[in-house]
């Protein structure tokens, strides 16, 4: 991982409130793997004291630059949307464990909900380079919110789209589309990114069909490098750090809804200490 001051060389609002930034960093672009992320100080002053914000690496310009794709949802992303070309952003990366794939894979399916296209476009480009055949399925609420459709169409064997209002492609959710088509496509592996509920349903379908399923999840982060233990995700093998062990996990391992406090035994302060005699 590197800490760099990365110059912004392009900025584009590809859809209302959704921005694509290209940042110069030979170091990060050389070592980045699909599914990894960068931890960004939003704005060049940070005088309001904001923690860094994590963003997937959306694409790399080999050996030179990388891109992020983000939606304005709050103060950090709002600040980030105001950067100007030639501003420099303080970026740490590449971070985390990305998607696993091997050139032996016969067919893959990339499934994105909304901004979930962010890490998957990088993966699509890598798979193409490695001659791995894949399908893509993109979902959004409306046609305007459907992102990167043309890019996936260029790379994938077949690209499906689903919109919840039926304004483009299949009418309904991408999960419904998956359930209707999975037995025909029969991918060996599914790669997915999007809202947690969507990832849960995709993982369940994948498990039903015995398909390997890798999902990229989100958690609030402070350090982004594995030091603060703040970004834990509940898995069937115990707590894992989203920033260091993830953000890509096997769908089968995740305790879906594990962050609902009632579902797991609370491991609070009164830990295995009852019998020890106190010298009090």
């Amino acid at each position: 991982m590197f800490q760099v001051k990365a110059d912004v060389i392009s900025k584009e609002e590809i859809s209302p409130g959704v921005f694509n930034l290209t940042l110069i960093s030979p170091e990060i672009s050389r070592s980045a793997r699909p599914g990894q992320f960068v931890h960004v100080l939003c704005g060049d002053q940070n005088d309001r004291f904001l923690l860094r914000r994590p963003f997937s690496i959306h694409r790399v310009v080999p050996g030179r630059a990388f891109e992020i794709l983000f939606q304005v949802v709050g103060s950090g992303t709002d600040e980030l949307s105001r950067v100007k070309i030639h501003d420099a952003l303080d970026v740490i990366g590449p971070l985390g464990n990305g998607f696993k794939y091997s050139p032996e894979i016969k067919s893959a399916l990339l499934l994105a909900g909304g901004l979930g296209v962010a890490p998957l476009l990088f993966l699509a480009e890598e798979l193409t380079e490695n001659h791995v055949m894949f399908y893509a399925m993109l979902g959004a609420k409306t046609k305007t919110e459907l992102l990167r459709y043309i890019d996936f169409k260029r790379l994938a064997k077949k690209t499906f789209a689903a919109t919840e209002d039926g304004s483009f492609g299949h009418d309904g959710t991408v999960v419904a589309l998956l359930n209707r088509t999975v037995h025909q496509l029969r991918p060996q592996v599914i790669y997915a990114c999007g809202p947690e509920k969507m990832l849960q349903k995709i993982s369940e379908t994948a498990e039903d069909f015995g398909i390997d399923c890798q999902v990229s999840v989100e958690a609030k982060m402070a350090c982004g490098i594995g030091a603060c233990l703040g970004c834990t995700y509940a898995t069937k093998r115990g707590f894992r750090l989203t920033c260091k062990d993830g953000p890509v996990f096997n769908g089968r391992d995740i305790m879906w809804g594990g962050s609902d406090v009632e579902q797991l035994p609370l491991d609070g302060y009164d830990y295995e200490t009852a019998e020890i005699t106190d010298s009090d």
Binding site: M1, Q3, L41, N46, R48, F49, L50, L51, R52, D90, I92, A219, K220, M221, A222, C223, G224, I225, G226, A227, C228, L229, G230, C231, T232, Y233, A234, G238, F239, G258, S259, V261, L264, L266, D267, G268, Y269, D270, Y271, E272, T273, A274, I276, T277, D278, S279, D280
Partner: protein, 304 residues
């Protein structure tokens, strides 16, 4: 003109007065990718407990105005693992190692102190006394001067290592607690730990943390921390490690003026992994710009 940044703290010599705050630096592995950890005055390990602890349920952190809340819940692999894996790693940096410990009973604190006896590389023990004493109805050791005194005495009885006691700010009168731990044998005190806080998501009506409440850290707590360091400096004559919201060298200078001999940096490490190096360089610059030659010329020099 060269500037002397070295200080002596509880009998340990530090080449400069800047160290990480426990729990924000792990064992230094991640940060060693960003800078030479050996440049720090000391390394303070994450709180270790006798047995492994899984920590609290997620979500564990949330950002607040000029600060953050955390409810990590002292997640750690336990003392045995620490001694086998983390301590040997930290020894590589060749700087003093301060081991921060916690327990839920006096006996646990005492046991860890005994287990640290004669272990190579441990320069001092820091007691995290912000944990609830389960035998005293869950009230934090650090919240009562009687409990604080007892836990310090239990540790003191079981170790010859320099003993630092880390005070919690969630008390009415921190000077009283400081006096109690010093009378029980603390060689130094560090303050402050986090302030208990809460944040609620107004869209879902749910608390932001699964644990409902958490510890507030970052710039938001700095004025509270400076005040407490200043008060404690009036009360006891042991060295103080000032902690709380230090982001820059200027922030650190405030703590020295209030009476701290050294400072520890927490949340700032998350925003800028090289923050501590910038702070060391900044302190040096601050002194030389003013024709000062020794960091000790600042300690406690607030003009009232």
């Amino acid at each position: 003109m060269s500037v002397n940044l070295s200080v002596t703290l509880a009998g340990i010599k530090l080449k400069n007065p800047v160290m990480p705050a426990s729990g924000t630096f792990g064992a230094g592995r991640e940060f060693s990718e960003f800078f030479d950890v050996g440049r720090l005055g000391a390394i303070v390990a994450k709180t270790v407990t006798l047995k492994p602890r899984e920590g609290n349920m997620p979500p564990r952190i949330c950002e607040t105005t000029s600060g953050m809340l955390n409810s990590i819940g002292l997640q750690n692999e336990g003392l045995e693992y620490f001694l086998k894996h983390d301590l040997p790693y930290m020894r590589k940096f060749k700087i003093p190692i301060i081991v921060n410990i916690a327990g839920n009973t006096l006996e646990e604190y005492a046991q860890i102190c005994r287990d640290l006896k004669g272990i190579e590389g441990v320069s001092a023990i820091e007691l995290n006394i912000s944990c609830p004493n389960i035998k005293a109805g869950g009230i934090a050791f650090g919240a009562s001067s009687r409990l604080a005194e007892q836990v310090t005495a239990a540790a003191r009885y079981n170790t010859d290592l320099p003993l630092i006691v880390k005070l919690t700010p969630n008390v009415y009168n921190i000077s009283k607690i400081a006096r109690a731990v010093v009378s029980a044998g603390a060689d130094a005190v560090s303050l402050i730990n986090t302030l208990v806080g809460m944040s609620i998501d107004i869209n879902t009506f749910k608390p932001q943390l699964a644990n409902y409440t958490g510890g507030l850290s970052g710039p938001a707590i700095k004025p509270v921390a400076v005040r407490m360091v200043w008060e404690v400096a009036q009360t006891v004559n042991v060295p103080i490690i000032g902690i709380g919201g230090i982001m820059t060298a200027e922030d650190a200078i405030e703590f020295f003026l209030a009476g701290a001999t050294a400072v520890a940096i927490g949340t700032a490490n998350f925003i800028n992994p090289t923050a501590m190096i910038d702070i060391i360089n900044g302190i040096e610059r601050f002194l030389s710009e003013r024709g000062l030659t020794d960091i000790r010329q600042l300690v406690g020099k607030v003009r009232l």
